[in-house]
Amino acid sequence: MSKKAAVVRVKELETDIGVLRDLELSVGRIFEEAWAEPVGPTPYPSLTALREWDLRLLQRYQPFYMPFCDVCCLCTFGKCDLTGDRRGACGLNMAAQQSRIVLLACCIGAATHIGHARHLVEHLIERFGRACPIDVGGMNVEVEAPITRLVCGIRPKTLGDLEDVLDYLEGQVTHLLSATHTGQEGSNLDFESKVLHAGMVDHVGLEVADIAQVSAYGFPKADPEAPLTEIGFGVADISKPVILVIGHNVPSSVGIIDYLTDRGLYGDVEVVGICCTAHDMTRYSPRAKIVGPISWQLRFIRSGIPDLIVVDEQCIRADTLVEAQRVRAPVIASSEKNCLGLPNRTESSPDEAVADLVQGKVPGVLILDPERVGEVAVRTVLEVAPRREKFKVIPEVEEIVEAAKRCTVCRDCQRACPNSLPIPAAVKAAAGGDLRPLAGLLDGCVGCARCESACPNDLPLHSFMVKAAEESLKGERFKIRVGRGAIQDVEIRNVGGPIVLGEIPGVIALVGCANYPHGGGEVAEIAEEFARRRYIVTATGCAAMSMAMQKDEEGKTIYERHPGAFDAGGVINVGSCVANAHIAGAAIKIASIFARRSLRGNYEEIADYVLNRVGAVGVAWGAMSQKAAAIASGFWRLGVPVIVGPHGSKYRRLLLGRKDREEDWYVYDARTGGKVYAGPAPEHLFYAAETKEEAMVMIAKLCMRPNDTTRGRAVKLTHYIDLHRRLYGALPDDIPLYVRTAADIPLTMKDEILGILKERKWKEGRIPDPTLLPRLIRKRVE
């Protein structure tokens, strides 16, 4: 562990050579002596410390900007029209403005995770003490915090050590955000470098948050056999009072579970959750249940099932209080970041808060003490539930049929729907008594209710869909494996070789939100396809939930069909959004544990290793939030490409390679210093796919790396070509770019591919020991 800002002051010092007065020595950081690993070149990197690495990436993967609109409206110079080559009053052009917006998004995301981590660490220190040890996997995990080691150059041993890391992260986010002020950064590429920096510090923030909660709360510690729990709209026993928690920051949910457990009441109350708090709740207590991803909020609240709603922070609908009032369910807000305009009852007696909520004097309260939230929530729900009698605002069928007759088919609902769902046609059918088309819409619905806001006749269209699909919703019960946390060192030892050599064809990370173009079933399909092909499939957040919400003919979900080990064919729910750190951490640990590269403050070398050798791909099929943008940018800097769904194109900037430009794909051969054409691998760093089929083919392609052995490349090519042939109906046209030597050709396709290679005048190349960093060349070309 490092100590920061050591200062030595000497008023007067007499020495042989003279007298020194008012001597002051200040040392920025002192690094732990006991750790034998040498400190690398960039511990606690500043905004520009890794700029050269960023520019290397950005030269190959150039930004393609896709602005939402033509103007900038961030200061009172504006609005400024930046169309084409125009510049704004401040001098900024469109490219710089777009990268500035991306940086703003990533700063918001990083600040959110780091703020989350800060809250967690402070709360856990208050409860468990600063000396509470970091333990994410006992003897199975020696590299407890790979990202923190890599970025900061320290080994955190206790919760207290994490405060130092957070100080650094908060400083970086402040500097990054300041760069977006008018009259600061002017270059789009420097904005982009800062985007990558924001992503990197975001990843450290994720890691701090998750290792703190895993250590202190006793979540599963790198456990491949973490228990199965329930997920789905129908999981709650509605004969009991139901507490619904929504958000990402788990202490208030822990407060509820502890209160119930301590008083022997857990059998009397259901605790269910939506979004990442639900993941973390089930990591704390497998008796807790998950309702579903972020898009399940409105449907579940309106159903009247929750008798009390507790919100913490992030991804919570801003109208939760309004919706809760409609179903007469009180709300407890529990985060400083999301107070909902409610009176602060943190210091009042719980009796008063409970009485006010039960009597309906206030629609909700703000309580900023997780233990007190637990008490007030449980006592309130026990009294409120019998009075509410599951009051709901979902209309009856007859009401829907009558209301639907008022529809004028103006199509405003469809024009407001992110997925342009054919709502008018479904409402028309409902007016005739057929609710099946309405029911069919719910699968593709992201739960935003923009259709309702747009309807000139105020038809509650989302509620119509929920009612129409009521029977299937009630039967929604699936099994999901509880988030396991980190990947064990021994797992990395076992699979590091096969991954780096290409024999395990890749590691797929299905992450992010539920802004899907056609529902979560597509994520489940992608996961199943790659697990079946013996890739390692990891998942977090809403994507991990959506994957669980499909059953096979035997009634089993993907988590019941596949093992939870980090191994070929494994399907691994790592945990909530902050647990994404363990996926990045696994890539880093491959470099450290398998390849024995030094991690400590050695970011550039490890990212170079990952980019050239670790066939990992992130997929955020329903990415929606600024947090998802920050998480993605952390993966880019680390050399892991990310694919988003069509809605992800609205992040306004992609990082695309050009396989047609041969000059972009040369690497150094670290053995000789010569430059070698390595092919477009990976072809892109940030890519938006139009369809799941396109995404699947691109996933397989982006797993290829310059370092693949011939056997590994043949395996990867087999999957790429097979998927392309099946989903596109033809062979891909870029096979020659990925065949370096004849030994790369999959045996089963040899004749066919040799024919293609001959036709394209393919020439055999060689396989380098690839790096983009001249300093890693061991022997220079004479």
Binding site: F64, Y65, M66, P67, F68, C69, D70, V71, D81, L82, T83, G84, M94, A95, D412, R415, A416, P418, S420, A454, P517, P646, H647, S649, K650, R652, L654, L656, R658, D660, Y687, A688, A689, E690, T691, E693, E694, V697, M698, L727, Y728, G729, A730, D733
Partner: protein, 179 residues
């Protein structure tokens, strides 16, 4: 010029908005005037019923009549091949857009840059940002052939019913073919 509203009501682009195509002859004239046109067809064209066929069938007729090279985006290459039509390329929507904005790109055939891109069948929000990228970062003229007003294009149909859209596409194909 005729006024039109974006299909997704909140998608307001700013000062530069697409001119509205009021009749199919406008598209025909633009294709005829273009030195090097290209047609980009997204997956929705293969999923959308149009007069007993799919939209992609109409677009193939347009491409044939106008001798316009086609880029099949997403995974719909096979849909073209089934119809005995070989697109000039199978390439993702973002890849073709990224090449089109590069003034140094020599095109799919190596004969030089394109000067007109017709686009249809890419999901509306994705088409929106792609057209915006081309508007701001290329000198290319773009035409949305979808039945939705796409203000980020240079030219776009207004929001159309399926019947109107079918009529327009049919007319473009016929007039380009000299009928």
């Amino acid at each position: 010029m005729a006024k039109a509203e974006p299909w997704q009501a909140a998608e307001i682009p700013g000062p530069a908005k697409a001119l509205v195509i009021t009749k199919p002859e406008v598209v025909v004239a633009m294709v005829r005037r273009a030195r090097r046109p290209i047609l980009i067809v997204g997956h929705e064209a293969a999923e959308t019923d149009l007069g007993g066929e799919r939209a992609v069938d109409h677009l193939i007729r347009v491409a044939r009549a106008g001798k316009i090279p086609v880029v099949a985006t997403a995974h719909i290459l096979g849909e073209f091949l089934k119809r005995r039509f070989r697109p000039a390329a199978s390439m993702s929507a973002v890849d073709i857009a990224n090449r089109l904005r590069d003034p140094g790109w020599k095109g799919l055939d190596g004969k030089g840059p394109y000067d007109l891109a017709l686009i249809a069948g890419v999901p509306y929000p994705m088409g929106w940002v792609i057209l915006s990228g081309l508007k701001h970062f290329s000198g290319l003229r773009t035409v949305s052939m979808d039945p939705y007003y796409h203000p980020q294009a240079s030219w776009s149909f207004p929001n159309l019913s399926r019947e109107e859209w079918e009529k327009h596409l049919k007319a473009v194909g016929e007039k380009l073919g000299g009928k």
